[in-house]
């Protein structure tokens, strides 16, 4: 087990180093130097040269990468071109909204998807199965922002059940916080839910044909116990994996969802940075989101032995 953890950690570090190189080169191979972006459209060549020198852009590329990577390791992601504030400070300020949205979505989507997948596998080929898998196919195809506007129109504008847009911090009460997150989480979670439900169904179908399920049925275990106690635990590893891998889908969706619902999170910060070509923010957010994705998947991999004790042997 120790060897496995060490190997998995090492490969995580390699992936993060590659992510760093890709993100760094993305900016430095782009046409037009970062100095020209910072200086603005009306700057003279002399001004651009001066900024270049200040930023260390006249150093060789590997040296620049070394300095940049070292700063990131110390938590220094540079300063925003537009506002002049440190990127780290901007991201931390936006963190609560994005984390709230992501957590609510993951909890709600995973719970519904696993239940739906189990039920679909239980009565495979039946009406319930077909309906659930039809909804799943739809979930892959309808973009987040279309679902989002549809939900706003139906539940907020027409029915007045929930607020239209915006975000309220958890400190001002649980219901105000949650009520602002219900619709975004529904919109954001749909594709994620579809992905998990499909894998759960496939994984459960495989397990349900095993001998020990027949044994459980023979000794008189109830359907619920058969499904959730005997089968789901054995089908758990692929489900946990896809919950982890699906985070990538979720992160891309966060950027769109925060725009639709006007949630002041990291996604919104990134979108605002597009128009200003505020590349330190875009770079920083890419590194942070990729890092979160890689770490979550590391944790998922390490949790396999908890779900299925056979794996640690």
């Amino acid at each position: 087990m120790g060897g496995y953890i060490a190997r998995r950690l090492a490969s995580t570090l390699v992936v993060m180093a590659i992510v760093g190189i890709i993100v760094f080169l993305l900016v430095h191979l782009a046409p037009g130097s970062p100095a020209a972006i910072i200086a603005g459209d009306n700057a003279s060549p002399a001004q651009i040269d001066m900024i270049s020198h200040q930023l260390g852009l006249d150093e060789p590329l590997p040296v620049q990468f070394g300095i940049w990577a070292w700063n990131i390791l110390r938590g220094n992601f540079g300063t925003s071109i537009f506002s002049g504030a440190p990127v780290m400070q901007l991201v931390v300020g936006r963190l609560p909204a994005t984390v709230s949205l992501s957590l609510v979505t993951i909890v709600f989507a995973a719970t519904i998807a696993v239940t739906a997948g189990v039920l679909a596998a239980w009565r495979a080929g039946g009406v319930l199965d077909r309906c659930l898998m039809g909804i799943a196919a739809l979930g892959f195809s309808v973009p987040v922002f279309v679902v989002g506007y549809f939900l706003i129109y139906l539940f907020a504008i027409t029915l007045h059940w929930l607020p239209v847009q915006g975000y309220v911090a958890l400190s001002s009460g649980v219901w105000p916080w949650l009520s602002h997150l219900v619709l975004p989480a529904l919109a954001l979670g749909l594709a994620y839910l579809a992905l998990i439900a499909r894998i759960t169904r496939a994984s459960m179908l495989e397990v349900l044909s095993e001998d020990y399920i027949r044994t459980a049925r023979a000794k008189g275990a109830s359907s619920l116990s058969q499904l959730f106690h005997h089968a789901l635990r054995n089908a758990g590893v692929p489900i946990a994996t896809v919950i982890g891998i699906g985070i990538a889908l979720l992160i891309s969706g966060v950027v769109l969802t925060e725009t639709v619902f006007n949630i002041p999170g990291i996604g919104r910060l990134t979108v605002d940075a597009i128009t200003n070509r505020d590349y330190p923010i875009i770079q920083g957010v890419m590194v942070i989101f990729s890092g979160a994705y890689v770490v979550i998947n590391l944790l998922v991999d390490l949790s396999y032995s908890l779900i299925d004790p056979r794996i640690s042997r």
Binding site: V19, V23, A30, F150, Y153, T270, A273, I274
Partner: protein, 290 residues
Amino acid sequence: MSEATLSAIAVAERPRNFRRFWRRNPTLLIGGGVIALMVLLALAAPLFAGNPLAMDPMHRLRPPSSLLWFGSDNLGRDVFARTVYGARISLLLGVTVAFGAIAGGLVLGLLCGFYHRVDAVVMRVMDGLMAIPSILLAIALVSLWHGGVPVVIFAILVPELPRDVRLVRSIVLGVRERPYVEAAIAGGARTGKILRRHILPSTIAPLTVQGTYVCASAILVEAGLSFLGAGIPPNIPTWGNMIAGSQLYLAIAPWTIFCPGIALAVLVLAVNLLGDGLRDLLDPRLSRQP
């Protein structure tokens, strides 16, 4: 039996064959049918749809009617015309990215499967690319590398690559252990010929299926990028641009958002159904890669 009777039997059997094919592959036919219809509408757009760019300030935000089928937007432009012309961009872009990503995945995957040194480097880069959320990578490419539509296509294509490379690589690694490939190597065939004659054919069926999924995903990412203002320039009518431009009018003119939105969802669903149908038809064992 004479030739005439044989052909008569063949003609009589055709509807039954078609019915059987239809019953076995409903998703393939529904998906394919919807796509064919949309391609037809997009190609014939100038014949029946109005001018997608013409503004009519006297008729702003009009609801759908017999004259304006999908109503008009905040500048008085015909939403139906814009939706039909938007299909052109989505279809063209989806197909371009699908072909590009499959071609790139094929070349890199074949090299990775056959040369260990290439494999070590390329697969690490692919791991890195996979860790970066696709829309962020595309946003960064589009906003930093000014350059219009070609950059947008490139930005949508790059995040799609890793899955295609992995797919081809895994097929190559499986096939190269087969006796007929070993025989070809032992027989002294050149590597290029082995790849072309003995390995390439095994990749065609899975790549056809994968290509449809890439196409669906590319259409979604393009719409997302345009919606965020990091895609196709806003003066071109794409579905993402239409939705972005109508955000403020959701409460008073929902059709300006839902018409392109539903068109987008229907097209992507059709492409996904076509992919599922092709998968079942070409290789029942091949399952969707998460």
